[in-house]
């Protein structure tokens, strides 16, 4: 029974005992067990990634009224394995004039930045890689490595389209990091903690989930997460109809596969972060009390749901223009997210430990949303009237 209540610690202790029974020191054994555990964990992530490829292809097919892969295995479930075999035996081409070191490092960094996020994903209270006390800063930092890898890929490819994709990435991912950090700050204010476990603990009852305390922040986080992922409507860095394939134009074989797999796993990971920050992580109306394994399954289910939401947005909304993309971020999302941060800090501090905290936060969000819509309407009307006044009136007869 002890195993089912806390599988990770139980396994860790029994392994530590058997390792240190020889001449090995505790420190060496700990690092060795860490390495083994992480290898297992990351392998799980990669296997999940393989199925994410299948889910992605199947879901996009359904959105576009097609069948999708359906030849290999039941419902085409073995299609991604065939893809992997194909990617493995493809020739690896490095273009002439490419910066070889950066060119090869870029896909590695892209995958690593995603895998690093898995260190702080809390699948259940005691099934978390590491409970960092600065997990939210770690999330932003690991995300920046992903941006760096895109810039490296674009710069090192010796290809004008790839360079252009990299420039767009600088503008986009870097800009959308601001509202994302502000959204994370709102959650930090509400939870009083930057650790992932602390944030999940703060959402103990179903009405305490931060989606109810901060619905607008949830929308801002979702939008900026999609932009950080570089998925449509924010896929300007790839933009296959404009700049070939953007930053990974020159990549072939497994290196391209790493970019692709990294993108899908990144989407799933951000689905997990949305579940953890706004929907109580592994909690689902008391079902999580059955044990950490059930909690982990609930967490994966929630993450898959938000992965599906991100896919839904991707295959529904067309790509936006770069000036619209930047104006939307700097003139709308950034001011709004900081206003939300100020209001949340004030309301949260004034009504600390009060039963009215959640309703007050919810109502203040509704109020801010309403004011924003009113402002946007009046702004739109003013712009339209200014343009109508500018245009030459038709001659009257």
């Amino acid at each position: 029974m002890e195993f089912w209540n806390d599988p990770i610690t139980t396994m860790f202790n029994s392994l530590l005992e058997s390792f240190t029974s020889g001449s090995m020191s505790v420190a060496t054994a700990t690092v060795l067990i860490y390495a083994l555990g992480i290898l297992l964990f990351v392998t799980f992530a990669m296997v999940l990634d393989i199925f994410l490829v299948w889910i992605e292809r199947k879901v996009v097919a359904r959105f576009q009224d097609r069948l999708g892969p359906n030849r290999i295995g039941p419902f085409g479930i073995f299609q991604p394995f065939a893809d992997i075999v194909k990617l493995l035996i493809k020739e690896d081409i490095t273009p002439i004039g490419a910066d070889v070191v950066l060119f090869n490092l870029a896909p590695i960094f892209s995958m690593m930045s995603v895998l690093l996020l898995w260190a702080i994903l809390p699948f259940a209270p005691n099934m978390v890689g590491v409970d960092l006390n600065v997990a939210m800063l770690y999330l932003v930092a690991a995300g920046s490595i992903g941006t760096l890898s895109v810039i490296m890929a674009g710069w090192a490819s010796n290809n004008k389209y790839a360079t252009m994709g990299a420039f767009r990435t600088v503008a986009q991912m870097v800009s959308y990091e601001i509202p994302m950090v502000a959204a994370i700050l709102v959650i930090t204010v509400l939870a009083g903690s930057m650790g992932t476990v602390g944030i999940v603990e703060a959402q103990e009852e179903w009405w305490q989930v931060f989606f109810l305390s901060a619905p607008l922040t949830f929308l801002i986080f979702l939008i900026s997460a999609i932009a950080e992922l570089g998925r449509s409507p924010f896929d300007l860095n790839e933009a296959e109809s404009e700049i070939v394939a953007g930053f990974h134009t020159e990549y072939t074989g497994m290196k391209f596969g790493l970019f692709y797999a990294g993108e899908l796993l990144h989407s799933f990971t951000f689905g997990g972060f949305i579940a953890l920050l706004f929907f109580g992580g592994h909690r689902f109306f008391g079902l999580e009390n059955l044990g950490p394994i059930v909690g982990a399954l609930i967490f994966i289910g929630k993450a898959l749901f938000f992965y599906w939401v991100i896919m839904w947005v991707k295959y529904t909304v067309p790509r936006i223009r770069i000036d619209h993309m930047l104006a939307f971020n700097w003139k709308f999302l950034t001011p709004l997210s900081f206003i939300l941060l100020m209001v949340t800090a004030l309301v949260g501090r004034l009504l600390l430990d009060s039963a009215w905290l959640v309703p007050a936060l919810f109502l203040s969000n509704v109020f801010i949303g309403w004011m924003t819509v009113l402002y946007l309407k009046s702004h739109e009307r003013k712009t339209r009237e200014a343009e109508e006044a500018k245009s030459v009136p038709v001659a009257q007869h």
Binding site: A27, V31, Y34, A35, I38, L39, V42, L88, I89, K90, E91, D92, I93, T94, P95, I96, G97, N104, P107, I108, M111, M112, L115, L116, W118, V130, L132, V134, L137, Y138, S157, N159, K160, Y161, T163, F167, A171, V174, E177, V181, L185, T188, G192, V244, M254, K255, G257, L258, I322, D323, L326, W330, K331, T334, F338, M342, A345, G348, R349, L352
Partner: protein, 118 residues
């Protein structure tokens, strides 16, 4: 768990190892027959002209500058946000004034037309 950063360090190593292993296996299995045409830059179908490290729009640089201001300052907000519930109410107003100064910078950049993509 003595230090969580040991775990993160091991995670970085494993995170580097997995993609390197994938690329190494692919390099081992795949054919290696390079030639000049195959390795030429793929752009739009006709031959590439000039260097790819071209001049780029200065606007990218300006957005990066505006970002830098915000990103550095938001790091200062994290300790404030974590300990907000233990601090006196005065600290909330201090934080709000700090954010307002940040937003004043954004408004300045906005009024100067730095946020226009022209």
């Amino acid at each position: 768990m003595e230090s969580p950063w040991i775990y993160v360090g091991v995670f970085v190593l494993v995170g580097l190892f997995i993609p390197i292993a994938a690329i190494a296996i692919a390099a081992f299995l795949g054919p290696k027959k390079p030639n000049a045409i195959k390795q030429s830059t793929y752009e739009c179908g006709i031959e590439t002209v000039g260097d790819s490290w071209i001049q780029f729009k200065a606007q990218y640089y300006i957005f990066a500058l505006v970002f830098l201001v915000f990103d550095v300052e938001t790091v200062f907000l994290f300790p404030w946000a974590v300990s907000l519930n233990q601090l006196p109410l005065f600290a909330v107003f201090e934080g709000i004034i700090f954010i307002l100064i940040l937003l004043a910078g954004l408004v300045y950049a906005w009024k100067k037309g730095m946020l226009e993509w022209a």
